[in-house]
Amino acid sequence: MLFNSFQYLIFLPIVFIFYWLIFKSIKIQNLFVVIASSIFYGWWDWRFLILIYITIGLSYVTSLMIGSYPKWGGVIAGVNVIINLSILCYYKYLNFFADSLKVLFSQFGYQLDWFTLDVLLPVGISFYTFQALSYSIDVRRGSIEPTKDFIAFAAYISFFPQLVAGPIERSTQLLPQFLQRRVFDYTTAVDGMRQILWGFFKKLIIADNCAYLANQIFDGYESCNGSLLALGALFFTFQIYGDFSGYSDIAIGTAKLFGIRLMRNFNLPYFSRDIAEFWRRWHISLNKWFIDYVYIPIGGSRCGKLINMRNILIVFLLSGLWHGANWTFVVWGIYNGVLIIAYLQLGLNKKRPEIISPNNYIPSIKEIMEMFVTFSLVVIGWIIFRAESLQHAVGYLKGMIDKSLVQRPNFHNVEIGGTQLVYTLIFICVLQVVEWVFRKRGFGFDLSQCPSRVLRWAVYLSIIVLLTVFSGEQEKFIYFQF
């Protein structure tokens, strides 16, 4: 079930009312969360439920075993990790590796008759697998006691707002919330509604409109000049941000309605002043996951420069692969790893306060320059990410980094309407300005401190009108495929 679907519009109020008004006991509430999440997830394809329940059951049993047999904890956790990753690899990477080997061997004149599987990639498999893995590892490390409450554990893994596209929650943060009584809090619920509204603005107005424009330009890149290609890259940059951070806002807002706090997943990434800062602000839950469960265990930054560089590359390579089974994602991951290493070597990665320019209305010239350079590098990365193949990415970049980059965009061979182009650019500016103004709050458009209710409601209704007038065609969330 998509957040931006009619079904969800019906589903959410029903679940909310049952959850708070009818099922008041914590155990029944948790059971209801599991049932509601199964309906939500099974709406795509009921067969997906089998896989998620295998993951839930396996992680639950192995974690109890780790608690019971601490001597064998490492082996049991290892088995759990291997099985979960094998399921992930089977559905997500088997065809990719088989095809890649086929191509490799064909270069040497060998034709391999590999089989490829016609399997459907379960929605959000990477997200819930990583969440389940983090639980097992945390239990093994002793960060959390294994829970005996299967229903609470199933609710933790399958909690519908964050099931298919995160944030990837830590067991230490989310599981205890399912083990204790939740109390309805008016302020939190209203805050959640605001965040949902803002998430829809990002998704329906920014991402869906940018998606149409970016698709037109990326599909017809061969006949576009440099400036139009740059515009296409810019649209995809905001498409992916609006899409994913919009999803996160809707997920976090929805969770607040149920008295559950989820972690922040995006923190104004396009205002970052260096690449490391960008990765501290973009998809925060995944990056923290990789730092805690990959980067630090393999040595982190403690074992000398060379080992640190290797570790950074490993993390970004895995992060790239996590995003999808395509060489473009692998190269995108390596590209980001190399950038971080370069910044590190040049001493440009700095520890920066979480809030950018906290005491100024606008950033300083130096900060603007840093933001511009970082943003440009990120945009280049998104071109690789968006391209259908490496050849596509190279062709796109070649066409873009050309003298025609400073010429007027040629719209002759792409089907783009001038009106949509203009209002999409205007809304991108609105997004950036609003997020900048509200940068000290939990999310853009946090009007909780505005004293006038009339003004607040006027703004909310204006957003509803904007959503109805300017929404693009319904697009699925990009990150579902990961």
């Binding site: 931006n4 679907s5 009619f6 079904q7 519009l9 009312i17 708070w20 008004l21 309805f184 008016y186 619920a189 209203v190 509604m193 599909d219 017809g220 006949s223 002759h412 061979n413 089907e415 009106t419 209002y423 409601w457 909310y460 209704l461 509803i464 009108v465 109805t468 007038v469 300017f470 929404s471 065609e473 319904q474």
Partner: protein
């Protein structure tokens, strides 16, 4: 909790009120903005195949009101609306008749947002709605409401308030699309790498609305013809089902099948859409040899167009 629910309901009511108020300009303007010229008595309806193939500036006295992604529900509503707002003007309708338009291949796709113009949606009767919900997929039927207000695009509103013939000028609801696309090579590559085509069935909802169109035309004395624009020779063979349906059910309605008409590659935007060059050739052909001469060649009699 009660306060939260009450205020949420109040907010929903306010939102609905504001959104309903947005219908007013449509209601006020429906009469004037749906007007077509008095000489436009030939109407073309259908999906992107018609939208891109027939240049109504070339085919005299015609109006191409087709739109990409359209299904027969929408075509039927357009037909009703235009004939009601332009009494006695439209006397002939050429309706797209091809695989994409008739089969279930588009049923799982939520309809494009322009479907939900109140002009079009309001044409559905209760029976139509019942059929929509019983004969189509959840995505399609509920999709009507998930996009309920998405239609209300900025420029459309401004343009229809400003001009009288905005529907003709503003092609949001349909109109000839000057297709600049030149992706035939890419489409051929894709087709060759994936030669199988999924075999769909004739869609029951489309069939229901096709019957409604046939009845409507009969009742109102409108001549109805089915038309299949040219497609590239490498496009999937997909007319068998359509021909079968035609001979079994609509034998008395002429079918102008140009599916296999020979056209040079430069006329195609991709495998199943003509680009502007193809549209020019095809429209001139229709104008000179078919439309005004009631000369309806069968598939085998198509003489083709050489560059």
């Amino acid at each position: 909790m009660k306060l939260f629910i009450l205020r949420s309901l109040l907010f929903v009511v306010c939102s609905i009120t504001v959104l309903l108020a947005m219908w007013i300009p449509y209601v006020i303007s429906a009469d004037k903005c749906m007007k077509i010229n008095n000489n436009q008595h030939i109407l073309f309806l259908g999906n992107s195949h018609i939208e891109c193939s027939i240049d109504d500036r070339i085919v005299n006295d015609s109006f191409n009101f087709a739109r990409g992604g359209e299904r027969l529900e929408c075509a039927y509503n357009k037909l009703k609306l235009l004939t009601e707002k332009n009494i006695g003007i439209i006397d002939t309708v050429y309706m797209s008749y091809d695989y994409m338009f008739l089969t279930t291949s588009t049923d799982s796709v939520p309809p494009p947002s322009y479907y939900y113009s109140p002009w079009l949606m309001s044409q559905n009767t209760l029976t139509d709605w019942l059929k929509i919900f019983t004969l189509s997929s959840v995505d399609y039927s509920f999709g009507h409401f998930s996009h309920l207000y998405v239609y209300w695009k900025y420029m459309d509103m401004l343009s229809f308030l400003r001009t009288e013939d905005s529907i003709v000028k503003n092609k949001y609801l349909g109109g000839y699309l000057y297709l600049k696309r030149d992706k035939l090579d890419e489409a051929i590559r894709r087709r060759k790498s994936n030669p199988t085509i999924s075999i769909d069935k004739i869609d029951r909802l489309n069939l229901y609305f096709l019957d409604r169109i046939v009845d409507y035309c009969k009742k109102n004395g409108i001549v109805l013809c089915f038309i299949t624009p040219p497609q590239h020779k490498l496009a999937p063979e997909n007319m068998v089902l359509c021909h079968q349906l035609h001979s079994e059910r609509y034998g008395d309605i002429p079918l102008l099948d140009f599916r296999y008409m020979e056209l040079p590659d430069s006329c195609f935007g991709d495998l199943d859409h003509l680009n502007y060059r193809g549209a020019k050739f095809f429209s001139e052909y229709l104008e000179k040899k078919v439309i005004h001469k009631n000369n309806y060649p069968s598939n085998k009699e198509n003489e083709g167009i050489k560059e």
